[in-house]
C-alpha cells in the first residue's frame, strides 16, 4: 500500500479540520480527493506529507511511518502545491534544477531529469524566462515540473489547475494521466468534479474533515437514488398535470418552469420512454429533449444535502 492513514484528527482550536480521517491509496492508481473549499483536503495532504502537526492518528507511506526525517520516503514523493512555489529570481531552468537538486545530488543525472521535466510540461521555449514573464498556465506548468522532475513514485497534486485557462487545464490533466501511465501513483485534490471524474480511477469525497464516500466514479453514482435528469421543452404545457407524471414509475421529482419540464428519476429502465408516452397521450408537443446521468454533485448533494459548489 502506498498510503495508509488511520483516524487522523487535526484541530485548529475549536475547529475540527480533520475528523477521524481514513485513507488508503493503492499503487498505480489516481485517487481523486474531491470536496468543497474548506472540506479539509489540503489539511489532510499537509498532515500526510508531513508539514502539519496533528492531534491523533497514524500515517504510513510505503508501509513506513511518515515523519519529517523519513528521507527515504520523501525521496519518492513529488508535490505540486496549490500555490505556485518557485523563486522569482531564478529562471525556469534554474528553478527546476534547484528543486530537483534537493532530491538528486548527481549533476549529470539531474541535468537529464531537468531536461525531461521541461520537455514533459512543454516549457522548452521558456527555459531562460523568469517566472514573472510567464502566463498563468505556463507558471502552473513550471510548478508541476518543479514537483515531478526527480521522477517520484508518488505524486501529490493539490488543486494544480486553480486559475488556469481551459486549454492549459486540459494539458495539465493529460500530463497527469501520462505520469500515471509511466507508473506514478497519484493523489489529485480538487473541488472541480469534472476534473476528478475525467482522470481519477478512484474518488474520495470529503466534507467537514472526513471522507463521506469512496469508490470509482460508477460506484459512487450507484450509491445514490438519483438516476437521470430529464429535461424537456414543452410547447403547450397548459394542460399538463404534474401529478400524473409524478405517479409514473421511478420518478423522484417533477418541476415545470415556463415551458421547461425537469424530471428527476431514480435508477430504472425506460424512464424517458414512459414520460414521452404519457406526454403523447396528453397531446403535448415536445421541443427539445435531453437527458443526463447523475454527477458527483448529485452524489454529494444526496449525502450531505448541499451542493458541491456551495
Amino acid at each position: 500500500m502506498v498510503i495508509n492513514v488511520k483516524n487522523l484528527v487535526k484541530r485548529y482550536g475549536d475547529l475540527i479540520a480533520l475528523d477521524h480521517f481514513n485513507l488508503e491509496v493503492q499503487e498505480g492508481e489516481i485517487l481523486g480527493l474531491l470536496g468543497p473549499n474548506g472540506s479539509g483536503k489540503t489539511t489532510a495532504i499537509n498532515c500526510i506529507l508531513p508539514l502539519l502537526k496533528y492531534d491523533k492518528g497514524t500515517i504510513e507511506i510505503y508501509d513506513q511511518p511518515m515523519s519529517p526525517e523519513a528521507y527515504d520516503i520523501k525521496r519518492n514523493i513529488g508535490i505540486v502545491m496549490q500555490n505556485v512555489a518557485v523563486f522569482n529570481e531564478l529562471t525556469v531552468y534554474e528553478n527546476i534544477d534547484y528543486f530537483c537538486g534537493l532530491y538528486v545530488s548527481d549533476k549529470q543525472t539531474r541535468k537529464k531529469m531537468v531536461a525531461e521535466a521541461i520537455d514533459f510540461v512543454g516549457l522548452n521555449d521558456f527555459t531562460k524566462f523568469h517566472p514573472k514573464k510567464l502566463s498563468g498556465g505556463l507558471l502552473r506548468r513550471l510548478n508541476i515540473a518543479c514537483g515531478i522532475a526527480h521522477k517520484p513514485k508518488l505524486i501529490i497534486l493539490d488543486e494544480p489547475t486553480v486559475a488556469v485557462d481551459p486549454q492549459s487545464r486540459n494539458n495539465i490533466l493529460e500530463g497527469i494521466l501520462e505520469l500515471n501511465r509511466q507508473g506514478a501513483t497519484i493523489i489529485y485534490t480538487s473541488h472541480y468534479m469534472e476534473e476528478v471524474e475525467q482522470i481519477a480511477s478512484r474518488i474520495a469525497i470529503m466534507d467537514k474533515g472526513k471522507i463521506i464516500a469512496m469508490g470509482t466514479n460508477e460506484e459512487l453514482k450507484q450509491m445514490i437514488k438519483s438516476g437521470e435528469h430529464i429535461n424537456l421543452e414543452l410547447l403547450n404545457p397548459e394542460h399538463l398535470k404534474l401529478s400524473e407524471i409524478q405517479a409514473l414509475p421511478h420518478i423522484i421529482s417533477v418541476e415545470l418552469t415556463d415551458h421547461q419540464l425537469v424530471v428527476k428519476s431514480s435508477r430504472g429502465k425506460n424512464n424517458l420512454i414512459a414520460i414521452l408516452d404519457h406526454l403523447k397521450d396528453q397531446n403535448i408537443t415536445i421541443g427539445k429533449i435531453y437527458s443526463e446521468p447523475p454527477t458527483l454533485n448529485d452524489v454529494f448533494l444526496e449525502i450531505t444535502g448541499k451542493e458541491l459548489r456551495d
Binding site: 508531513p50 502539519l52 534537493l102
Partner: protein, 375 residues
C-alpha cells in the same frame, strides 16, 4: 547540498534588485550625499585671517613700533597700507573688516560688529596697554631699558601645550560615516529576513517545498545564511573601498581590525534580520517595516542624523549604547581611529558577537521545528 544551496542562494540574492538597492546602492548614495553635505564642515572651524587696512599718515610714519607690531601679527592679520579714502572704499565693499587710523587716539573704523572687528579692537587695546606700560616704566626708571624690559613686555609666551589623547585628529564628520556603515551592517537584516522566509513552510510556498524535500533543514539554513553573510560582506567591502578610495574618509591604518568589525557587524545584521523574520508571523512587508524602523532608530541613537545624539546617549543612558548594535559598530571604528589601546574595541566586538549568538539562538529555536501548527 550545502554548496548546491549556497550557490543558488547567492544567485537569488544577487538577482533581487530591490534587496540589492537597499543593502548596496542606498548606502553608497547616502555616503555620497553625506560627503556633499559635510564637505566644508571640517574646514568651517579653521581660522581665516582678518583683513585690515592701516591709513598711511605722518603720525604712523613717526611710530614705527606700531607698524612693526601689526606686521608681526601676520598670523592674525592681512594688512594693507592705504589712504583713508581707499580704506573707506574697501570697507564699503566689505573687502576689509575695518581700518586703523593712527592718530592721537588710535582709531578703529568698522561698519559692523563681529568677531573679526573684536580681534582688531583687542589687538589695538593690547598695543595701547603695552605702550602705556612701557612709558610708565621708562618714566619711572629709565635704566630699565638697559635691563631688557622692552623684550619682556612685548614678548608672548605659550605656557600650555596641546597634547592629543588620540592617535588621530578628531573629526566630527567621520562619525556620520561610521554610523552609515553600522546602518549598512544592520541592513544585512534584509538578507536574513529573505533567507528565513525562503525556508519556513509557514512563511512561503517555496519554504513548504523545501521542507518536503529529503534534506536536512539546518544544512539548508546554514548555507543560506552563509550566502547572505557573503554578500553582505562583499557589499560592505565595496562601500568601504568607496568611502576610503573615492570620498577620502579616513579609517586609520588598522585594516585587519576594520575587517573584523565588518564581519562582526554583518553577522549581527544578518542574524538580527533572521530573528525578526522567524519570530514575527506576519507578512514579509511587516517584517521589513519593523526591520527598517528598528535599524533607523538604532542608527539615529548611534549618531547618524546628529553626532550629538551618540554623546547624549553615552552620558545620559550608557546602557542604551551597549544594547544598540549600531552604536557598538560605530564605537568599534571610533575606538580604532582615536584610541591607542584596543580595550574598547574588543569590548564592542565581544558585545556584537553576543548579540549574534542571541539572535542565532532565537532563530534556531523557532525554525528547528519541521512540523507546523498551521500553514
Amino acid at each position: 547540498m550545502f554548496l548546491f544551496n549556497y550557490r543558488y542562494r547567492l544567485k537569488c540574492i544577487f538577482k533581487d534588485r530591490q534587496l540589492m538597492f537597499w543593502t548596496f546602492l542606498f548606502p553608497i548614495l547616502l555616503a555620497t550625499l553625506f560627503n556633499l553635505a559635510f564637505a566644508n564642515l571640517s574646514s568651517a572651524d579653521s581660522f581665516l585671517k582678518v583683513n585690515v587696512a592701516v591709513v598711511q599718515n605722518q603720525e604712523l610714519d613717526q611710530n614705527p613700533a606700531f607698524t612693526q607690531a601689526i606686521d608681526g601679527a601676520d598670523d592674525l592679520f592681512i594688512v594693507q597700507y592705504t589712504t583713508r579714502a581707499a580704506a573707506d572704499a574697501l570697507l564699503k565693499d566689505n573687502q576689509i573688516d575695518g581700518y586703523i587710523v593712527f592718530d592721537s587716539d588710535l582709531n578703529l573704523v568698522v561698519n559692523q560688529s563681529g568677531l573679526n572687528q573684536t580681534i582688531i579692537r583687542e589687538f589695538l587695546d593690547d598695543f595701547v596697554q603695552s605702550s602705556a606700560t612701557l612709558v610708565t616704566i621708562i618714566t619711572a626708571n629709565p635704566t630699565a631699558l638697559d635691563n631688557g624690559i622692552l623684550a619682556g613686555v612685548s614678548s608672548r609666551s605659550e605656557y600650555l601645550t596641546a597634547v592629543s589623547a588620540s592617535q588621530s585628529n578628531p573629526d566630527p564628520v567621520v562619525n556620520y560615516f561610521y554610523a552609515l556603515i553600522a546602518m549598512t551592517c544592520l541592513y544585512g537584516g534584509f538578507l536574513g529576513v529573505k533567507e528565513v522566509v525562503a525556508i519556513q513552510a509557514d512563511l512561503s510556498a517555496v519554504g513548504a517545498r523545501i521542507n518536503l524535500a529529503p534534506t536536512n533543514k539546518l544544512t539548508v539554513f546554514l548555507s543560506s545564511m552563509l550566502a547572505a553573510t557573503t554578500i553582505q560582506l562583499l557589499e560592505l567591502l565595496i562601500l568601504l573601498a568607496f568611502l576610503i578610495g573615492v570620498l577620502g574618509i579616513s579609517f586609520g591604518d588598522q585594516l585587519g581590525y576594520i575587517a573584523l568589525t565588518c564581519v562582526a557587524g554583518s553577522l549581527t545584521g544578518v542574524t538580527f534580520g533572521a530573528c525578526i523574520g522567524s519570530i514575527i508571523k506576519k507578512s514579509e512587508g511587516l517584517k521589513i517595516g519593523i526591520l527598517i524602523g528598528s535599524t533607523m532608530i538604532m542608527s539615529f541613537l548611534a549618531g547618524m542624523m546628529s553626532a550629538d545624539m551618540k554623546y547624549l546617549v553615552m552620558t545620559r543612558a550608557p546602557i542604551l549604547g551597549y544594547l544598540n548594535p549600531a552604536n557598538l559598530i560605530t564605537d568599534s571604528f571610533y575606538a580604532l581611529y582615536y584610541y591607542n589601546t584596543h580595550t574598547q574595541f574588543f569590548t564592542d566586538i565581544l558585545l556584537l558577537c553576543g548579540f549574534t549568538l542571541l539572535f542565532s539562538t532565537v532563530t534556531y529555536l523557532v525554525i528547528r521545528r519541521q512540523k507546523y501548527a498551521s500553514l
